[in-house]
């Protein structure tokens, strides 16, 4: 212990003695450790931290799956009820569905994210209410279902954390509901709900048929199902049993359950599934940055080791064993790493809020992300390992050899072995930074390609918001309301045109329905949209054939539809679909005539190819809520916000506007995850390149100082400035070139792993690889040029006199 304290004290003195060296080493390490810590703090919370439910790893998301395509979808109530009744592997199963409700009674109405739940929803997650109680089986009975459990967030925001609220009524969709409990703010199992409601049938009703018993519906898929594994049951056992149940149901209900399997996914995987590859990519990237930082410090230490051979040999002569010398040198490097670690963690604590600000919602929603105890432990471990990693080679080098040799060589020392190690380190640095540059180049190109995608409509000057009447209102009341709102919006000064649609592109969510052609039993699928006539014009969706929906259609007994280009191509290849009919679509058994074909839109996001769509007119078909789209005459559609709120209030003052945004904002949100990955990887690649350039500069500066004598001789033999420049730059560029080649080879292998994150570009895109290689070579040239210029200033007389 005493010798350790002595080593630490001596190490501190050594670091103080060379502040320039200490500063550069600490800076390189701090950058690496800060990047690693910041990304790890996200990974720790999002991927590694168990969800805040008791035994959370046993909670599963249960979804129906198509055995042919592997596509997963929501469950139908009848299937869910059969799964629940027949399985022996789950202690609980529960189902839920989003059920937005209008909350009134305060200063302003608000559309709140409600969730309708089945009986065992709360026991399944195992989280008790913070105030009052959760929902009980008795609440799931007709007549006693007007109770609600509030989320902690809504309770605080809307009700000022009023503890007397439990037992009192609030108004949802114009009806009184009794608040029976308040959940902790962290309770958010489906990433959606702000309040939870029971269902009169024990299973949530279909949103379009709120008053109909859903329990026998097998072909309407709208439920999110959950399950908790019984103690001792493995996921594999559960999968096997559920597969057997699905096979039985398929046999029993061949019409609705053809190819229908069951998919079980751990709840954490389900929640973070999409963001996982991005986070893992970033974690690898920061590990590379840290490795490059370590290589830089190892290079600095090697250069210093040359100057310290005399000290080390004297220590050896005085009786220090090799192990003792290595230990002392390692103490120095670990101390250096720990200082770098402290600065790095401080830097990370400062960076994490900025990181979260630019992160997509699926990361930002984890409010606990930060430099916590786990992250701190990780950073300390990383620092110590880094210290050993970059300190070991120099320590081994310095501790080797014998006293006489060192003392004889005096100040100049021996440099051959160190030079080779240093070169290897620099080649590795260049190679690693090329991999990062290639990765970031591919993500940048993907992003550019994505932004070039035509969404199928004009995203500029569009204001979008959602309104919905209570589910108790009649379809006629709903249609009338939408038409009135559209009319009022249309009449606003500054509005070019306005329309309404059941689901607007990029808003998240979709609804698909089956249909057939007359005289054929072949089943097709299409996404359903219900819109007002001016919707297409307002969005800028082009009419390609036939006619648009009209005001007359709403009141006509002839059912009409407009289809998109994709459906025309898929269902009527080489034919004119105008005048043709579809049957068994939505709630209509009878024929619906196709009157027009419009252009495709990218509904889910820019990267998902357009799917077949069928547009029906409001009046003939109905939807419980509608998106209003308003094309502004000016460049800022949000300037219409107040006028739009007033327009809606003038029709019904109790109807709130939800999700009010500009379409540009919705577009930006839809690409946020890509942008996040692209920006971060580019930052890390830039950092890596900078560190590699500094490493190359260091090695070449050292090489020049070692070659002064040689350069002097060459100049005496007639070498000109250009010759010396070529000599030094050539040496550096050979290292950089080797690094670039190795980096390219590794990139070809590694970028394949990120192919799921790419769009419109191959993981081996030669142009991207060429550009990043050229960029790195250019930076390497610059890093070489400075020491090379210094080499040309060598005075041959001075160099030759230096014997």
């Amino acid at each position: 212990m005493e010798t350790l304290i002595q080593d630490v004290r001596y190490a501190l003195r050594m670091l103080r003695k060379s502040p320039g060296f200490t500063f550069i080493a600490v800076a390189a390490l701090a950058l690496g450790i800060a990047s690693t810590t910041a990304i790890f703090s996200v990974v720790d919370t999002v991927l590694l931290h168990p969800l805040s439910y008791p035994d959370a790893t046993r909670i599963l998301s249960v979804r129906e799956s198509d055995r042919g395509t592997g596509d997963r979808s929501s469950s139908s109530p009848a299937n869910y009820i059969d799964w629940q009744g027949e399985n022996h592997v789950f202690s609980y199963m529960a189902a839920s569905r989003g059920s937005p409700v209008n909350l009134t009674g305060g200063d302003r109405p608000e559309r709140v994210r409600g969730v309708m739940t089945s009986t065992d929803f709360f026991p399944l997650f195992g989280v008790p209410a913070m105030l009052g109680r959760t929902l009980l089986p008795d609440d799931n009975q007709p007549g006693s279902d007007h109770v609600v459990v509030l989320g902690g967030g809504l309770w605080k925001r809307r009700f000022g954390s009023d503890r007397t609220l439990v037992g009192r009524n609030i108004t949802l969709n114009g009806e009184p509901y009794t608040v029976v409990g308040v959940m902790p703010a962290s309770f958010n199992p489906d990433d959606y709900g702000e309040l939870w409601l029971p269902s009169a049938w024990g299973v949530p009703a279909h949103p379009l048929l709120p008053n109909q018993d859903p329990r026998s519906a097998r072909d309407r898929h709208y439920l999110d199902a959950w399950a908790r594994l019984k103690p001792g049951v493995t996921l594999q056992q559960a999968r096997e049993e559920m597969t057997a149940i699905a096979a039985r149901l398929e046999k029993q209900y061949p019409d609705s359950n053809k190819d229908a399997g069951v998919s079980l996914i751990g709840m954490q995987d389900w929640q973070v599934g999409d963001i996982r590859p991005t986070l893992l990519l970033l974690l690898v990237a920061v590990a590379f940055v840290l490795l490059i930082g370590c290589a830089n410090v190892a290079n600095l230490l090697l250069a210093r080791a040359t100057g310290r051979t005399r000290e080390v040999s004297i220590r050896a002569a005085l009786g220090a064993s090799r192990l003792r010398v290595i230990r002392q040198l390692l103490t120095e490097s670990i101390l250096l790493a720990l200082i770098g670690g402290v600065v790095g963690v401080l830097l990370a604590a400062w960076c994490v809020p900025a990181l979260l600000a630019m992160s997509p919602p699926d990361i930002r929603d984890f409010t606990t992300i930060g430099v916590n105890r786990d992250v701190l432990g990780f950073s300390i471990m990383v620092s110590v390992l880094s210290g050993i990693l970059f300190g070991l080679a120099p320590a081994l080098h310095a501790s080797r050899g014998n006293l006489n040799e060192y003392l004889k060589e005096g100040e100049r020392g021996s440099t051959g072995g160190h030079g080779k190690t240093r070169s290897v380190l620099v080649v590795a640095e260049v190679g690693l930074s090329l991999i990062l540059l290639a990765g970031s180049g591919l993500l940048i190109k993907s992003f550019v390609r994505l932004m070039e995608v035509n969404p199928g409509f004009d995203t500029s000057r569009l204001l979008v918001f959602n309104v919905g009447l209570p589910t108790s209102s009649t379809p006629a009341q709903q249609d009338d309301f939408y038409h009135q709102v559209v009319e009022r919006l249309q009449a606003l000064p500054g509005v070019q045109s306005a329309g309404a649609v059941s689901r607007v592109p990029l808003s998240g969510g979709n609804s698909d329905r089956g249909f057939e052609l007359p005289g054929s039993s072949k089943k097709y699928n299409a996404d359903i949209r219900i819109s007002t006539p001016l919707y297409f014009q307002t969005m800028g969706i082009p009419l390609l054939k036939g006619r648009n929906l009209s005001e007359q259609d709403a009141h006509s007994s002839v059912l009409v539809a407009v289809i998109n280009e994709e459906l025309a191509r898929e269902v009527f290849p080489g034919q004119d679909p105008i005048g043709k009919y579809i049957v068994k679509f939505e709630t209509f058994d009878g024929p619906i005539q196709i009157v027009g074909v419009v252009g495709n839109v990218r509904h889910e996001d820019l990267e998902t190819a357009p799917r077949p769509e069928i547009y029906l007119p409001f009046g003939q078909a109905h939807w419980p809520s509608a998106y209003m789209v308003v094309r502004s005459k000016t460049s800022d559609p949000l300037a219409l916000t107040t006028a739009a709120q007033n327009a809606v209030a003038s029709v019904n003052k109790d109807i709130p506007l939800a999700n009010l945004r500009s379409m540009q904002d919705m577009l930006a949100r839809s690409v946020l995850r890509r942008k996040f990955a692209m920006l971060l990887l580019s930052i890390f690649a830039g950092l890596a390149m900078l560190l590699a350039a500094i490493g190359l500069y260091g090695v070449m500066s050292y090489a020049v100082s070692q070659r002064t004598h040689e350069i002097g001789i060459r100049m005496a033999l007639g070498a000109q400035k250009e010759d010396v420049l070529k000599l030094v730059v050539g040496q550096g560029m050979r290292l950089a070139g080797l690094g670039v080649i190795l980096g390219l080879v590794a990139s070809v292998a590694l970028t394949r792993l990120m192919s799921t994150l790419l769009f419109g570009v191959s993981a081996r895109d030669p142009i991207t690889f060429g550009i990043v290689a050229a960029l790195l070579v250019a930076v390497a040239l610059l890093a070489n040029y400075i020491p090379a210029r210094r080499a040309t200033k060598v005075d041959p007389i001075v160099a030759l006199r230096y014997e």
Binding site: E710, I713, R714, M715, A716, L717, G718, A719, Q720, D723, P796, I797, L800, R801, E803
Partner: protein, 235 residues
Amino acid sequence: MIQLRNLERTYKTGAGVTYVLRRINLDIRDGEFITVMGPSGSGKSTLMSILGMLDDSWAGEYNFLEHEVHKLDRKNRAELNRKYIGFVFQSYHLLDNLTVYENLDVPLSYRNISRGQRASMVAEILDRFQIVGKKDLYPSQLSGGQQQLVGVARAVVGNPKLILADEPTGNLHSSQAKEIMDRFKKLNDAGTTIVQVTHSEVNAAYGHRTIQLFDGWITSDPANPQAKIPAVVTP
């Protein structure tokens, strides 16, 4: 071949200016073998550096062949060095990480000579110096005498008109020294002008004329009987 007129070389030091060479007047004819002698610090090596165009910071006049060196810029002086001058150093100054062959090729690589021509020039010099068998060895694998032989070979590989040898045998024992000096004699007989710095009277005897330097002054030059330190020196 060489005319120096009132050539002076100074160094700035903390205390002021230190004179290394003072009012040097020297004529060297084509084909001469000159020996420069003098105690340490007398300015011998500096004089060699100036003659070899490695040192630019001097004042006075220097005519080399038909060139007025004092009017030339650094680049043109370096050009003269490459074209006409070969160096031999006391500590050989071979490049450690290059073979004998490569060492001989170095000065040629700085002239505008094709690879093929360079190869034949190096082959010719290896042959002439009888070191063909050593062409693939590294300097560390050679004795001191052999290293200096390579040093001389390297100096003459480009067929220089002038060879500047700064204590070429300083690190060699007498038999090796004789071999090197005989080699210089042969080169001089073949027409190459040689200026050598030496402390050895034996080596000096190889030359036609010996110049003595002291404290930066030429104190003796058989071709210039007036050469001596002035009675009162005013910097």
